[in-house]
């Protein structure tokens, strides 16, 4: 079990501040690193991977600094955003070379296992330069996983993968997370992050805007009304009853139910069953409809 820790980390280039006083702790499991383009995600990942010195603060993996410390690569795997691979090698040669450079006791077996993990066994003897984008990506993931690192950092790992490969990669990352690996992946596709991980670190304009389970983050945003989709045996009568409730700030009656805006998540969810029971109305559906990562993310960006 490895822990990645950033403590008051800033990174600037001349007058431009790319990362501003970020502190975060990554525990075992899968965490998504989110942020709009130019927010500083790659800079954070590069500092974690030991490819950039923090201008201020410290970046450590299990209390060892990542900068100027090649020893950390025994427990760290990196899939960088840039796709460059030694194209003149075959997938097998490339992964085997990585296993040898990791000084593994049985590089051949580790190579076989890693290639099987990303389903590249069939194409392992082809030169990488003949591969599609997705195949290159999987080969790079195999190379990053060949030494079974405790920490895996992936920068936009799903780029170029087809839907089936994406699903397979998601399953793989899930499995590794469940096994106790610490995995951080950046993505600008919210759906991917939503499917893969509840835990997010959101970076906006170089600052850490939010950290933790995105559903919990949403509930903490008390200044934004929570939106619920409600269906019942009598939607109109329920709407009339609900409008008298203090925590309800607005209701829209639609063909397939009600959209209710509540200023207080807790009070509303407690009041709704009481009101429905009092009116003799049967509730058929209650869904928080803006707890998706997308709405949380857009709220954070607007804030």
């Amino acid at each position: 079990m490895s822990v990645v820790e950033l403590e008051n980390v800033s990174r600037w280039y001349g007058n431009v501040v790319a990362v501003n006083d970020i502190s975060m702790v990554l525990q075992p499991g899968v965490t998504g690193l989110l942020g709009p383009n130019g927010a500083g995600k790659t800079t954070v990942l590069h500092m974690m991977a030991g490819f950039l010195a923090p201008s201020k603060g410290s970046v450590t993996i299990d209390n060892s600094p990542t900068w100027r410390n090649p020893g950390i690569y025994r427990s760290l795997g990196l899939v960088a955003e840039r796709e460059a691979v030694h194209g003149f090698l075959t997938a097998k040669e490339f992964v085997l070379a990585c296993a040898k450079m990791q000084k593994l006791p049985d590089p051949a077996a580790a190579t076989k296992r890693a290639l099987e993990l990303v389903e590249m066994t069939d194409a392992q003897d082809r030169r990488i330069e003949t591969f599609s984008k997705g195949m290159r990506q999987r080969t790079r993931v195999a190379a990053a996983l060949v030494h079974e690192p405790q920490v895996l950092l992936l920068d936009e790992p799903f780029n170029g993968m087809d839907p089936r490969q994406r699903m397979h990669m998601m399953e793989l990352l899930h499995k590794l997370g469940d096994q106790g690996h610490t995995i951080l992946f950046s993505s600008h596709i919210l759906e991917e992050v939503e499917q893969l991980s509840g835990l997010v670190q959101v970076i906006v304009a170089g600052r850490l805007a939010a950290s933790g389970d995105y559903r919990r983050i949403r509930r903490l945003m008390t200044n934004r009304p929570h939106v619920f989709a409600v269906q019942s045996s009598d939607d109109r009568r329920l709407a009339v009853a609900l409008i008298g409730e203090k925590s309800v700030s607005g209701i829209e009656v639609e063909a397939n139910g009600l959209t209710v805006r509540a200023s207080d998540y807790g009070s509303f969810t407690r009041a709704l069953p009481r009101i429905a029971l009092g009116e003799g109305i049967r509730l058929r559906k209650l869904l928080p409809s803006d707890e998706s990562l997308e709405s949380v993310f857009s709220y954070l960006l607007e804030a």
Partner: protein
């Protein structure tokens, strides 16, 4: 052979860049052969071919192509990340790269120089050129390897060193010769096999010490630079 050296070797010899290494040595041997075939007096062509082409062009240009190719191309295309994300001491990476660069440059330039020396004078002169070429290949490789880490335009800077510093200033400004690898190679070769063709402008001790300084200094500085290698984010 270490894995880093293996990948470097494959990268170097597996690309089209390797074809760039062939014309100059062939030209050198070809010219010497033609001169010999037509019985031209070596005093007339020896200096021009061995010094003017061999030591002033073939050795440094081949070392430049190879020296910047072993690391600079990986830095350029980003594949260096795959080597750097391994728990290898940076010293081992630089030494492996330097070994490949020096070895390939030395072989590619020493062989034609040997034949040119043999055709122009004697076996002894050919062997002296081999020694000079090996020393020169090591010093040039260390310098050009370092250039790939300190600048984004190592080839341009390397060419400026060869053409402007060694080729132009070296002829007219005597002080610049102390920092000219070509001059060390000339002095060492001339000391081993004195002929009228080469005229060492720096003393042997200076040539040896300065070659060592170039080789060791370049290597140590390159190791240090690689230790602090930063990757800038493309979309950070």
């Amino acid at each position: 052979m270490s894995t880093v050296a293996y990948i470097t070797m494959r990268g170097l010899l597996g690309r089209r860049r390797v074809l760039l290494l062939l014309p100059l040595p062939l030209l050198l041997v070809g010219l010497a052969l033609i001169c010999r075939a037509y019985d031209v007096n070596p005093e007339q062509w020896g200096q021009a071919v061995v010094l003017g082409l061999g030591l002033a062009v073939v050795l440094p240009v081949i070392s430049l192509i190879v020296g910047t190719g072993v690391l600079g191309s990986e830095v350029d295309d980003g594949t260096i990340v795959h080597i750097l994300t391994k728990p290898l001491p940076r010293r081992d990476i630089i030494l492996a790269k330097l070994l490949v660069a020096s070895g390939v440059s030395a072989v590619t330039s020493a062989v034609p120089l040997f034949f040119a020396g043999l055709l122009a004078d004697s076996v002894r002169f050919g062997l002296a050129l081999v020694v000079g070429a090996v020393v020169g290949a090591i010093a040039y490789s260390a310098l050009f390897l370092l250039l790939s880490l300190v600048t984004r335009r190592p080839v341009l800077l390397g060419l400026a060193y060869i053409l402007v510093w060694e080729g132009l200033l070296g002829r007219f400004v005597s002080g610049t010769r102390v920092l000219s690898i070509e001059q060390y190679v000339i002095s060492i070769t001339d000391k081993i096999a004195p002929t009228g063709m080469l005229d060492g402008k720096v003393s042997l001790p200076v040539a040896i010490v300065m070659s060592l300084i170039f080789a060791l200094g370049g290597t140590i500085y390159a190791i240090n630079r690689l230790g602090s290698f930063s990757v800038a984010g493309e979309t950070s």
